[in-house]
Structure formats: structure tokens, C-alpha cells
């Protein structure tokens, strides 16, 4: 709870716009409601959050979900323009040293394969690097999550390491690897200039 004495960070706690979406910062209550209403009935999505497809209680979701606090952790609901129906969330956790950890989940399957993550994450990354609190962005993904790996590659992240057989994959029924990706601020700006 070391964050609780810090003032809210208004740079991160604001809505962002992309061509197709508005990214609205969610409160803890809003984020939990969104997850409870959209993720728990979908075993595949729930297992990504709770790491146990058969244990999909609202309490377990609350314990394991990214919890926005307006200081070091932020969760943006992804809303198509003109809609109040969120199709997913992008979570940001600020860590030492000048590092932001990203996680994304698109729960509306009608939007899968339509470039949502690349569009949303590109906007979030640019916004993160506008702050002097962030100089490095990292992400972690299961080794056979091909769509997420594509998204990191498309955005220009570097693969900087692999945790081999570090988690049990309920989908594969076998141990799974996790891939680590990194984007440094300089590389992001060079990429934008290219």
C-alpha cells in the first residue's frame, strides 16, 4: 500500500483517443465489474486471469486481476467510439526503474483479428513515453499465444528472454513457456521517425 500516500497521477489517469476507440481509465470497481460480467463465463478468458478454468469465482478474479489505483496501476477500458460497451481492457503497472508493465485482454471475440491491440497499445505506449516516469516498457506472453506474439512483433518490441516451462498451461495440458518482450523509449521514437 505504499502508493496510497502518493497523489493521483493525472497524466495516466485520463482518457485517450485512437482512430476507432476511446480508452477510459477505470476505477477498481469498474474494472472488477467489467471482468466479472465478461470474463468469468468464458473459460478461456477466465483461465488467462485466474490460471484455473474451473475456479472462476468473483473473489478469485478480484484477488488476481490488475487493480487500478490511479497512482501506479491503471486500467483502460477499450470503448469503440459512440459506444458504452467495452470490448476489452489494457492494464498498465508502473514499476521501478522507469518501467511500465503492460497486459491486455479483448473479451469481445467479434473484435479479435481486427488490429485492436496494435492500435490501442500503440497509443498507450506513446502516452507512457510522454511521461518521465517511463523509459522502458515490458510485456510477457505465453509461448504459444501466437496472436499476442504477433502484436509485440508488429509494434517493434524486442524479445529479450524466455522463461522455459514456467507455468502449467490448462489449454495445452502441459508446462508452457513465457516470452519476455521489451521496448526502450529511444527505440520507440526511432521507430516512429522511420
Amino acid at each position: 500500500m505504499s502508493w496510497i500516500n502518493k497523489p493521483r497521477d493525472l497524466h495516466f489517469d485520463q482518457a485517450l483517443q485512437t482512430d476507432r476507440f476511446e480508452l477510459r481509465p477505470l476505477s477498481l470497481w469498474q474494472a472488477w465489474r467489467l471482468g466479472a460480467n465478461n470474463w468469468l463465463d468464458d473459460p478461456e478468458l477466465a483461465s488467462a486471469i485466474t490460471a484455473a478454468p474451473l475456479r472462476r469465482s468473483q473473489w478469485r478474479l478480484f484477488r488476481l486481476m490488475a487493480k487500478p489505483n490511479g497512482r501506479t496501476r491503471f486500467t483502460y477500458g477499450i470503448f469503440p467510439h459512440g459506444s458504452d460497451h467495452a470490448i476489452g481492457v489494457e492494464s498498465v503497472q508502473l514499476r521501478n526503474y522507469r518501467t511500465a508493465h503492460l497486459a491486455v485482454l479483448i473479451h469481445d471475440r467479434d473484435w479479435w483479428g481486427k488490429g485492436v491491440v496494435v492500435e490501442v497499445r500503440g497509443r498507450v505506449i506513446s502516452h507512457l513515453f510522454e511521461s518521465d516516469r517511463v523509459g522502458r516498457i515490458q510485456g510477457q506472453v505465453e509461448g504459444r499465444n501466437f496472436a499476442s506474439i504477433f502484436n509485440y512483433r508488429k509494434l517493434g518490441f524486442d524479445h529479450v528472454g524466455t522463461f522455459h516451462q514456467c507455468i502449467w498451461s490448462t489449454a495445452e495440458g502441459a508446462p508452457a513457456d513465457h516470452l519476455l518482450f521489451e521496448m526502450m523509449e529511444d527505440n520507440w521514437h526511432k521507430r516512429g521517425a522511420a
Binding site: 483479428g113 504459444r144 512483433r153
Partner: protein, 71 residues
């Protein structure tokens, strides 16, 4: 030979008539997240075994696909 095979594999996975060896994530609109999944699964089907995480993450162009088919 593997470049030809890679071109055919990628074109088939993406539903295109053809692709160039230099084409990839940055140049082909059809090579999106679902297209990428189709390409990886097609490589694994052609090889008859799963790719390692390092091989999967190395795939970004048709030439990369050819290298995976050669290994």
C-alpha cells in the same frame, strides 16, 4: 527450394495469390494476428512438430518462414 515452399505456405495461409521473399508483417496487410497464427500452424504442420518459442518469435518475414522450414 525452401524459399519457394515458404512463399507458397505464407500465400496459402494468408489467402493470397503470391508473396515475395521480402514480404512480412510490415508489408502484408493480410499478415495480421490471425494470419500469423495460420502461418505458425502451417509451418508446424509442414514440419510435423511444434516450433520452439524462439523459433515462433523469430517469424516476421517470408524469409524467416523459409529458415524455420530449413531447420
Amino acid at each position: 527450394m525452401s524459399v519457394d515452399a515458404a512463399q507458397a505456405l505464407v500465400a496459402g495461409a494468408l489467402g493470397r495469390d503470391g508473396v515475395a521473399p521480402t514480404d512480412g508483417i510490415a508489408t502484408l496487410a493480410e499478415w495480421d494476428s490471425l494470419g500469423h497464427m495460420h502461418i505458425v500452424l502451417a509451418i508446424e504442420a509442414a514440419r510435423g512438430q511444434q516450433l520452439s518459442p524462439e523459433q515462433i518469435v523469430s517469424i516476421g518475414t517470408v524469409s524467416d518462414v523459409a529458415a524455420c522450414l530449413d531447420e
